[in-house]
Amino acid sequence: MFGPAPLARTWGVKLNMQVPAPVEYERATSLTEVFDLLERYGPESRVIAGGHSLLPMMKIRLARPEVLIDINDLTELDYIRIDGGELRIGAMVRHATLMSSPLAGEYYPIFAEAEAVIADPIVRNRGTVGGSLCQADPAEDLSAVFAALKATVVISGKSSSRTVPISEFHTGPYTTVVGPEEILTEVRVHLRANAGSAYEKVERRLGDWAIAAVGAMVRIEGGLIVEAGIGLAAVRAEHYSAPEAEQILVGSAPSDELVERAASLAGEHCNPSADQRGPVDYKRHLVKELTTRALKRSISRALPEGA
């Protein structure tokens, strides 16, 4: 396990292993080659993109792949474009690219807000959208962002590809539905009119994992919230989401009271654990506070100017 809660406790047995175990290295130059290599080396191989999660795990020997398959040459997966009424983000898009993308920002300010608080510039310059999702760290921000946006993930294999809603993508901490001979290739987000989105995060220090983070999206039509998404990171919310809170928002006119009720539900229904970032009561409080802030900002962004 690699993440906020359990790491320190397992650290002891992995003391001073800050060099990786021996590992083979392959560099793929096309998707076809990636699938060939995955087939050849099997489950003991790992795909490496930005490497900012995998390499630290390898250095402390919590991860010991036999083969690394480097996909950094797959520029074909480095794109952000509009297609079929969707924003399509290639798996190899770096955090820094998404953060500064005018296209993504035009539809969803949540991207720039979340990316600006992900780790630090060094990580953002290298880490990728696909890598972040596949790492499935419970504190991972983009998982919460895409949960709020109700995104769809494209998973590709040698002979076929499939789409999976983000709500079915993660199967638990550090695990996803991506099979041993598959990779995540794209993330898709519906383009929505009259929608607003926002991201809120509190960390002990720049670059630390979130104590809690909340992404929100609302779509408002005729004065009513017709669609709502709330994504939670670092508090062990199932699928990084807060369906109970989303439910009471939909169909109601936005108000401070409504936001307050939704935020309370988000705080109650997540499952944070105590660690050095904070005790459970504080984390629940923080989820409520940040949900309130993210929702309020999303609502004001969804409403037409001057409304």
């Binding site: 790491l7 320190a8 406790r9 650290w11 002891g12 047995v13 003391l15 001073n16 292993m17 800050q18 060099v19 175990a21 021996p22 402390i60 020997r61 509190v202 002990r204 220090r205 720049l206 670059g207 630390d208 994992w209 104590i211 105590a274 660690d275 050095q276 970032r277 904070g278 005790p279 504080y282 984390k283 409080h285 923080l286 506070e289 940040l290 309130t292 802030r293």
Partner: protein
């Protein structure tokens, strides 16, 4: 832009660009890990995963069979060399490799020497250690419980985890002032365990020449001479065949004072393999096993009249020393200089009692004035004064101003016997308040409070206690704390100065050249500083406790003065006049009343090496040396004001402003002083808000990586506002006081006082560091957490 070169002639004190920057900004520093010797092997340490466990067996056969492994060393092997245990710096012992049991997570268990560092790490996994896990002692407050496991079973007859009791001050007089006081405030507080976390971790390259028998140790040490002598004493190695070489050091902060098992293991590895052995620890090893700082559980009790005259202070301390008592203390002072805790105030009486205990945690405690415990002392008094202000409903600035020592009281003898050399305290506080716009800030705060916004203003006034120290009072393991210095002027007027102290990044190559220059007039650029090599420098105890400038700087000044004095006699011979007819104009002896007749120091230096007939009894050349035994410590001081904003919803603290007025006497190089202050302030923000080494119930270290042990970044730091006053030390030859740790000592209470000031509307009286968002929120709920244990 600041004018960097204040003196056009390049002589003496001023904002001189650092000499060492020429290599550091080019990436051309030479650190221990840069050292590569022919045939060099690499060591790695196997460490205990448990906090407390009996070692049942160690099987090294698989590791030894690794094709690249040259040696595997265990405690059993070291026992045959009488090196399994070595003396600590506090008259205890520490294990080099565990023999009987492990006593903290991260303790050294075995050492592998291999052809490359990867193979060494791989081989660690092949060592099979069978442990029998024992109950750990994690909570210092329960270390003396009758049912607590006994950690130090290696000490014959040891039945508990008690180390020492020590007190200072007049207990009866203190009790008497408490009886007559109108107001008494008591407060428990923890100064939690923190780590120096230098950018460069610790390491060594040991090179035993089997032919000459000479052992060279390249090592990350702040105290090369002390190390050499200790190796000689401990290992029975002849001291003249030992050379300790300390190259560029990437930060020390006390972390690199002591001798770590890894250094000894590199030496043993080199002796066994007859090849050089390099050992460099990684970040987690540094954080988990090397010297920490603080870990003082304090109970403060302060007495005052109702109009705010502070009468007395009592502090009772429970000191968590970890598994071995390895703090670096003068023998007389097991709690260092903690008894300077009466601080900057005019008290009638004060008393402190310190109890040291063992726990299953890493040993040490040699870190940024921590070893000498001034940091803890300043924290407790500055928190207690703020607690008193809260109780009296007085402004903390007014309360301090009312009680600060007055200039006419110096030299001042404190209730615990310290003689403060000099100080103008109210002037420094007034300047800090003026820079801050203190009363305007209070107005702003009142307006914000009315709107429900949380803003806090915190003050700290500190008196540092540095420059250890007078030999009659202070030693480390019996070695007196005097330092030597040698100055040699070459025939062409260039000079070399040789020091016993060792820089770790604070710019000695520049500042010591400036000291020599200030006294002799030789340009700074013409003075070479040699240090960090025991074969080429005079003996001395090294750099820590901000002692370089007060002790070694004084030695350099005295030696330089001796050069000038000798130059006068030579100049008189050159000018065929009486030395009494000469007057000193910086860099030149000239005839009184006829300034055109004179000789520069360069001309004199050449003459000293030439054929000139010198006066009877005067030897040639222009050299001088000094061993400086300081008559007293120096007492730098400062007034710090911190302004914070606290988000009422998330409880996150933002440091908005930090005003630091430091008085360290005259400044050799103001730019370097400001740099040191900036670093110390950042460190203070880190300790106050985020740095933490807590332990869970099993004794697992929860601060064992930089993912868990958070150091502040520029984002968490405001743009520092620094100011100065200058009060020279009356006993230092140049009036210098030292500044290395001032900001580290002074800043944490300012930040904490500011945060607690912001939380005043919630009735919060105290919460322990680090004031993370969770801790601040809990404090607002009236339920602050213990910060030495895992958060539940």
């Amino acid at each position: 832009m600041t004018d960097l070169q204040q003196r056009p002639d390049g002589v003496g004190f001023g904002r001189v660009i650092r000499k060492e920057d020429a290599r550091f900004v080019r990436g051309k520093g030479n650190y221990v890990d840069d050292i590569v010797l022919p045939g060099m092997l690499f060591g790695a340490v196997l460490r205990s995963p448990y906090a407390h466990a009996k070692i049942v067996s160690i099987d090294t056969s698989a590791a030894e069979a690794h094709p690249k492994v040259k040696a595997v060393i265990t405690g059993a092997l070291l026992e045959t060399l009488s090196l399994a245990w070595i003396p600590s710096l506090s008259h205890d012992v520490i294990a080099v490799l565990a023999t009987d049991k492990v006593r903290y997570q991260g303790q050294e268990v075995a050492f592998v020497v291999a052809e490359d560092k990867y193979a060494a790490r791989d081989a660690l996994e092949l060592i099979d250690v069978e442990y029998e896990v024992l109950a750990p002692v994690v909570d210092a407050k329960r270390a003396l419980d009758p049912d607590a496991a006994v950690i130090r079973t290696d000490i014959e007859g040891k039945k508990d985890n008690y180390i020492f009791d020590w007190g200072s001050g007049d207990e009866d007089a203190t009790e008497a002032v408490f009886k007559k006081a109108d107001v008494i405030v008591e407060q428990d507080m923890l100064y939690p365990r923190v780590h120096p976390a230098p950018m460069e971790t610790c390491g060594a390259v040991a090179d035993m020449d089997p032919i000459s028998g000479k052992l060279t140790i390249y090592c990350t040490t702040q105290a090369p001479h002390a190390h050499r002598t200790l190796y000689a004493l401990v290992a029975g190695l002849p001291e003249h065949k030992l050379r300790v070489f300390s190259p560029d050091i990437g930060g020390g902060f006390g972390n690199k004072v002591g001798i770590y098992p890894g250094y000894v293991l590199a030496v043993v590895g080199s002796i066994l393999t007859k090849r050089p052995v390099k050992w460099v620890e990684d970040r987690s090893e540094n954080l988990m096993s090397t010297s920490f700082a603080r870990d003082y559980h304090m109970h403060g009790k302060i007495a005052a009249t109702k109009d705010g005259k502070i009468l007395g202070l009592r502090v009772d301390v429970l000191a968590d020393h970890g598994a071995f008592n390895n703090t670096a203390q003068p023998t007389k002072f097991p709690a260092g200089f903690f008894h300077v805790f009466s601080g900057s105030y005019d008290l009638e009486a004060a008393y402190c009692a310190v109890k040291g205990v063992y726990t299953n945690k890493a040993p040490g405690g040699v870190a940024y004035a921590c070893s000498f415990r001034v940091t803890e002392a300043v924290y407790v008094v500055e928190r207690m004064v703020d607690r008193l202000a809260l109780e009296l409903d007085m402004d903390p600035a007014d309360l301090r101003m009312k009680n600060l020592l007055r200039p006419e009281q110096f030299p001042y003898t404190s209730p615990t016997g310290w003689e403060y050399d000099s100080g103008e305290y109210p002037r420094a506080l007034e300047l800090a308040m003026k820079m801050a716009g203190y009363w305007d800030l209070r107005k702003e705060q009142a307006e914000k409070r009315a709107r429900g916004e949380l803003m806090g203003i915190g003050i700290s006034f500190f008196t540092e206690t540095v420059g250890a120290g007078p030999k009659k009072h202070m030693d480390i393991l019996g070695l007196g704390m005097a330092d030597g210095c040698e100055v040699r002027v070459h025939p062409t007027g260039k000079a070399v100065v040789r020091l016993s102290v060792q820089t770790q990044g604070q710019g000695h190559e520049t500042t010591f050249a400036q000291i020599v220059s200030e006294v002799t007039g030789i340009p700074v650029a013409d003075v070479e500083v040699v240090h960090g090599d025991t074969d080429n420098t005079p003996f001395g105890l090294g750099t820590y406790g901000s002692r370089s400038t007060p002790v070694s700087g004084a030695a350099a000044a005295v030696a330089s003065k001796r050069i000038v004095d000798k130059a006068r006699l030579i100049a008189a011979a050159m000018l065929e006049c009486s030395p009494d007819d000469l007057e000193w104009e910086l860099g030149r002896w000239q005839v009184k009343g006829d300034p055109s007749a004179g000789k520069t120091i360069a001309e004199i230096a050449f003459a000293a090496h030439a054929t000139l007939e010198l006066p009877e009894g005067l030897e040639g050349h222009l050299d001088a040396s000094c061993v400086y035994d300081p008559p007293n410590l120096t007492f730098p001081f400062g007034a710090y004001i911190c302004v914070v904003d606290v988000d009422p919803g998330t409880a996150k603290v933002t440091v908005r402003r930090f005003i630091a007025v430091d008085d360290c006497g005259p400044r050799i190089n103001p730019m370097i002083v400001e740099g040191q202050v900036h670093g110390g302030l950042a460190d203070g923000v880190g300790m106050a808000l985020m740095e933490s080494i807590a332990f869970d119930e099993d004794g697992n270290c929860l601060g064992g990586s930089l993912m868990d042990y958070l150091l502040p970044t520029s984002i968490e730091c405001p743009s520092w506002e620094t100011g100065e006053t200058v009060t020279p030390s009356p006993h230092h030859p140049l009036g210098l006081k030292g500044v290395g740790e001032s900001a580290t000592v002074g800043s944490p209470p300012a930040v904490v006082n500011a945060v607690l000031d912001a939380l005043k509307p919630f009735g919060v009286k105290h919460a322990d560091m680090p004031l993370t968002p969770a801790q601040v929120w809990r404090a607002m709920q009236g339920r602050p957490m213990r910060t030495d244990m895992a958060i539940q």
